[in-house]
Symmetry: C2
Subunit: 109 residues, 2 copies
Amino acid sequence: MGRQMTELLKGTLEGIVLALLEARPAYGYEITAWLREQGFSDIAEGTVYALLVRIEQRGLVDVEKVPSEKGPPRKVYTLNARGRSDLAEFWTTWGFLAERLGRLRDGDR
Amino acid sequence: MGRQMTELLKGTLEGIVLALLEARPAYGYEITAWLREQGFSDIAEGTVYALLVRIEQRGLVDVEKVPSEKGPPRKVYTLNARGRSDLAEFWTTWGFLAERLGRLRDGDR
DNA sequence: CAGCGCTATTCAGCGTTACTATGTACTGGT
DNA sequence: ACCAGTACATAGTAACGCTGAATAGCGCTG
């Protein structure tokens, strides 16, 4: 993966996953697959699982273990109230940045 | 500064500074002041200087020492060819992310 | 039934970045 | 002599994503 993408993903990836979980509960493997579909083809599985551990420890998600027909049990993550609040903050921060960057890009300085 | 902003700035801040330098050469103290004007009120001076050292070592900028009327000599940074190429890459990467996030925000999933 | 592929999670070690806190140095005004 | 403003620098820390590998369950095929 490019160095720039790696750095830009810091913080962003967490927002993306929270936003996905807002739409529907999901488990790690599924999230990784979804990310790849969305064009984030180079995101390592390990990265996603580490992220999920973090947001669980911060109390942004509820976790439920669900047996799978194929392979080991899934850990299904659901966004809770704290998570929704955190996501709202994320959108505010992102919005601020995106607005500044948009102006910069259009040569408005 | 918020944790989210700190993480989102990773990679972004470098792009912002490169974009500024594309518009006009500048020196560290000046860049810090400009950032504060743009609403990045909490970015520490040390952060900017460290960033400038990095992009200089990567060969993205040319540096010229210019005596100042007030205080020690200024190090004026000018974006060079490599820097412009790096900035173009940054906009591509940023554009990709901004597009995905824009969709996510609008509930398009 | 052995091996392979897919599903699913976990972990150790690493590199990069921004933050905090501090230090150095030069100039002009009181 | 002192202090505020200008200007640059650096050591140490925390957070995040990446690499690479390991572990484990299940179904299918030779």
